[in-house]
């Protein structure tokens, strides 16, 4: 039997944000997530930290929230944010009246912007089309969602917060119209247990309706699928937005070693539906190539999709027109005290959403400690001294990236391992510059159950080779530390990677798929499970 004050259901960015906030205020809190962290829209999106420019015309309140939170996250989450800046470019075919509305919107929402000439824009981004008629620089940035989530978890742990991944909610226990606890289940082992708690926070995003239903409640959430494609290099160095009424395929985000183009917007019944169709890929390419010339010549790494949790109050708008704002629902009004739901919103404002939800929880529990998440950094930076010492052991260019990925404590551990064990200096991932030491330190943690978990924590397998080379290496390391059967892990990982590849089997991607098959089916002969 677990005992806590608050049980958060959902390990997306909102859930982990609430866990951190409540833990910092001294409220005993446990988070459960049925998969790995960030399984839903929190990671299955651009990785864009909005300046608010995207919402400047349609929703000024959201735009204002974005720019405020953008400033805060750059401060508290420096290791997750890459301050690329963003461009808004209008093409000759786009409505010029929209540009005027956008300028007014930015001014009124407090979004700083600077007009540059089309020539200047093409100097900044040489792949931009010559059809640009106007361009503006705004403080957009890219953000690593997985890293942000785990840094929230690590921070929460320092304050006594706890999280269980691969754990789902089975049932909400209630007595006399009040939440008394929950039954939860480890999906890997099947083991169930009870949690004694006073409050359940439903932060399940696109799954919020399903979680509410377990308590017999109704929450209107429309899963809205957005598909994106990933190119194998940084085609742009800034976020590039098209300056027109928001539509599909009009944002490019440089992220680590890749570029992400998205998104589409399709209402789906089931948030688990993350299939990307070729029709969607074709649509994204057709629109994307209007902004970047020769777009089809670049290699696509993969495609992916996630479901935005659009909140549908009765009679509200749907799809792209639906509000990107968020709502907090206290189900006490419907007869179940202690049950709270948060829906809607967007990654950029997750901290604010977490703050508002935590305020609500504290109000119910009578806790008066104020929120500190806007001022206290997520993680302590690795000192330049520590980086200097580590340079002796890390491969070239590896130190800065590793310091950002690992944070102070793990970086220390990894450096010590590199120092003492030559073998750990092997570069297991040439694409993202990840050493065996880093993989070994992270793989040993109890939250790592598969090569997929390892990938989301270290970026190994996310780069250009898409696991062709590192799958064997990681499976070998997994086997050595006693985590899983290497053949099973390899097969699973190659299958999982291919899910993102089959919708984009054209051009150079097709060539890479042949190579994957030549290695794993032909040279390793692991296709046959018997």
């Amino acid at each position: 039997m677990e005992k806590t004050d608050v049980l958060i259901v959902g390990g997306g960015v909102t859930g982990v944000g609430i866990l951190r906030d409540l833990s910092m205020r001294g409220v005993p809190t446990l988070l459960i997530e049925k998969a790995d962290l960030m399984n839903g829209a929190s990671s299955r999106y651009h990785g864009l930290l909005h300046s608010g420019g995207r919402y400047a015309v349609k929703d000024r309140a959201a735009a204002r929230e974005c720019i405020e939170e953008n400033k805060i996250l750059r401060r508290i989450g420096a290791a997750c944010v890459e301050p690329t800046e963003g461009l808004f470019v209008r093409l000759d075919v786009d409505d010029d009246a929209y540009e005027e509305q956008w300028i007014v919107g930015c001014q009124k929402s407090g979004i700083p912007f600077k007009e540059i000439t089309p020539d200047e824009a093409r100097t900044l981004e040489p792949r931009l089309t010559d059809k640009i008629v106007s361009a503006y620089v705004v403080p957009d940035a890219s953000i690593d969602g997985f890293r942000c989530a785990w840094q929230n978890i690590d921070s929460a742990k320092r304050y006594g917060g706890r999280a269980k991944t691969y754990t789902e909610l089975v049932d909400v226990l209630q007595t006399g119209g009040e939440v008394t606890g929950a039954r939860i289940k480890n999906v890997l082992t099947g083991a169930e247990e009870f949690v004694d708690c006073k409050i359940i926070v439903n932060a399940a995003g696109a799954w919020a309706g399903k979680i509410a239903a377990k308590a017999g409640l109704n929450v209107g959430v429309q899963p809205d699928k957005g598909s994106l494609i990933v190119f194998n290099s940084r085609l742009v160095t800034h976020i590039v937005n098209r300056l027109h009424k928001s539509s599909d395929g009009d944002i490019f985000v440089p992220c680590g070693s890749v570029t992400i183009l998205g998104t589409t917007s399709v209402a789906v019944d089931d948030p688990e539906d993350t299939r990307v169709t070729r029709a969607e890929v074709e649509r994204l390419l057709t629109i994307g190539e209007k902004m970047l010339v020769n777009l089809r010549e670049y290699r696509i790494l993969r495609a992916f999709a996630g479901s935005r949790p659009l909140y549908l109050p009765t009679g509200g708008e749907k799809g792209r027109s639906a509000s990107r704002g968020f709502a907090i629902i206290d189900h006490a009004a419907e007869g179940l005290a202690g049950m709270l739901t948060i829906v809607g919103g967007k990654f950029t404002t997750y901290r604010l959403m977490a703050e508002k939800m935590s305020d609500k929880v504290c109000e119910i529990l009578g806790v008066t400690v104020p929120c500190r998440t806007a001022t206290e950094p997520l993680t302590e930076d690795v000192s330049s001294d520590a980086k200097h010492r580590a340079r002796k052991y890390f491969p070239a260019y590896g130190v800065e990236r590793a310091a950002e990925r690992l944070g102070k404590e793990r970086f220390q551990k990894v450096t010590e391992l590199l120092q003492r064990d030559d073998n750990s200096r092997k570069l297991l991932c040439e694409c993202e510059n990840v050493t065996r030491a880093e993989i070994a330190v992270v793989a040993a943690e109890d939250t790592i159950h598969s090569l997929g978990d390892l990938r989301r924590r270290t970026r190994i397998g996310m780069g250009t080779c898409q696991g062709n080379f590192c799958t064997l290496r990681n499976a070998a390391l997994f086997a050595e530390i006693g985590k899983g059967d290497p053949l099973v892990e390899m097969r699973k990982n190659i299958r999982e990677r291919f899910k993102g590849v089959h919708p984009v089997l054209i051009g150079k991607t097709l060539r890479e798929a042949e190579m994957t098959r030549a290695i794993y089916e032909l040279a390793f002969n692991i296709a046959d499970e018997n």
């Binding site: 086997a479 290497p486 190659i494 919708p503 054209i506 798929a513």
Partner: protein
């Protein structure tokens, strides 16, 4: 200058076709841009490892007749395959890199994933038969070597060899400093007598009755090193297929390189063939683009050996629109819709996209969907051919050799 034959493509099928034509007295020009798949594939000659239901094939020669009628082997017949196998074994032996195996049996090859794969021909160093026969297997890793994981292999092998005693050892040869080493690095060092001796001495303590050793593709770039190492050790030590670069693929590429020089084949390297000229149903010339200029090459017959999607012989920049970029030959492929995408990479059946290629008549000349001849002096070999998924059925190098054999004979019949 007009040649008898121009071969386009520098993989196994192109090299073999060029050599076979030259051996029959033809004046040959060989034009290629890339390295083919030899560095990728390990250089073992898979003829047919699995049937359409992914069942392991015991006798490749006997299994050919059960293949679908569109399969290249059905067009070429077992005679071409047998002729190609005989030629290859003779050729490889003459160049000091002999292969073992017959068309009617399979050789077990150990892999770096700790599995066994069937192949038809392999050099002794990759022939895993002694591993099957041994009572004890010692898996050998090298300190500093990346991509061969002795403990992984030792953990996986018991699934196949439940009754054997399997252990892993890691040998420190004090090579490579502290940098990462590939199999190629280690192979080059093992060609040195001093390093080879250290290697053998390190393994000697593990030699016992009915013991066999298995390791990565590291036993020398020179073909004699592997055999010599085994003799000095006094027990079988065999290599595995695994991640590229595949050392044995490079050994094979090396003997082909020597052979095309010996055969006085006019070789144009680093040149990409970009266009062709035709006169009615005859191909007259191809144009190749090198760094400095474009050149036109004339011949009586042409052999196309530019590969499939991997080699760039077939290109698909847009969904369901594959094309052959030099001659614009009709491409045979199965369109995939959104309801029918290949969502599982290990689907248990051949992948439709992998069957893409060029249709031919029984002489390996390109035909269109209606069966009409496209060009009477253009022959298609290797992964340019449609109707087979070499990754699924393990047949790539077998088709490459057999089609080269067939095409070289057919095109010289034109004279």
């Amino acid at each position: 200058m007009k040649q008898d034959v121009v071969v386009v493509g520098g993989g196994l099928s192109g090299f073999t076709a060029a050599l076979m034509c030259a051996e029959q007295g033809a004046a040959v020009t060989l034009i290629f841009a890339g390295a083919g798949t030899l560095p990728l594939s390990g250089g073992v000659i898979d003829v047919l490892g699995f049937d359409g239901q992914k069942r392991e094939v015991q006798n490749p020669a006997a299994a050919l007749s059960a293949l679908p009628s569109k399969h290249p082997y059905r067009k070429m017949g077992v005679e071409s395959l047998q002729g190609a196998i005989d030629w290859f074994k003779d050729f490889a032996a003459r160049y000091g890199h002999p292969y073992e195996g017959e068309l009617t049996t399979q050789i077990p090859v150990a892999t770096a994933a700790g599995t066994i794969k069937p192949t038809c021909l392999a050099p002794r160093s990759l022939n895993g038969s002694p591993l099957v026969a041994a009572k004890r297997i010692v898996v050998v890793g090298i300190v500093g070597l990346k991509d061969f994981y002795e403990r992984l292999v030792a953990a996986a092998l018991p699934k196949i060899f439940a009754d054997k005693e399997i252990t892993a050892v890691t040998v420190d040869l004090h090579i490579g400093g502290k940098r990462d080493m590939t199999m190629l690095d280690v192979a080059r060092r093992l060609d040195e007598p001093k390093t080879q001796e250290a290697f053998v001495n390190a393994l000697k303590p593990y030699v016992a009755n009915e013991t066999a050793f298995v390791t990565g593709q590291i036993l020398g770039m020179n073909s004699v090193t592997a055999v010599d190492t085994e003799e000095r050790l006094g027990a079988p030590i065999r290599e595995t297929t695994g991640l590229p670069p595949a050392v044995n693929g490079l050994r094979l590429a090396k003997i082909y390189e020597r052979a095309i020089i010996d055969a006085k084949i006019n070789t144009v390297r680093g040149a990409k063939v970009i266009a062709a000229k035709r006169d009615g149903r005859r191909i007259v010339s191809v144009t190749a683009k090198a760094a400095a200029r474009e050149n036109e090459y004339f011949a009586d017959a042409f052999i196309l050996a530019t590969g499939g999607f991997y080699g760039g012989g077939i290109v698909m920049e847009r969904f369901n629109e594959p094309y052959e970029p030099i001659f614009n030959l009709p491409v045979d492929f199965i369109a995939e819709t959104d309801d029918d995408l290949p969502t599982d990479i290990f689907a248990g059946v051949p992948q439709k996209f992998a069957l893409t290629g060029l249709m031919t008549d029984e002489h390996l000349r390109s035909i269109d969907g209606a069966g009409k001849l496209v060009a009477e002096n253009l022959f298609v070999v290797g992964k340019n051919l449609s109707g087979y998924d070499y990754c699924f059925e393990h047949s790539g190098n077998g088709v490459a050799l057999a089609s080269a054999y067939k095409a070289s004979h057919e095109c010289l019949c034109l004279k």
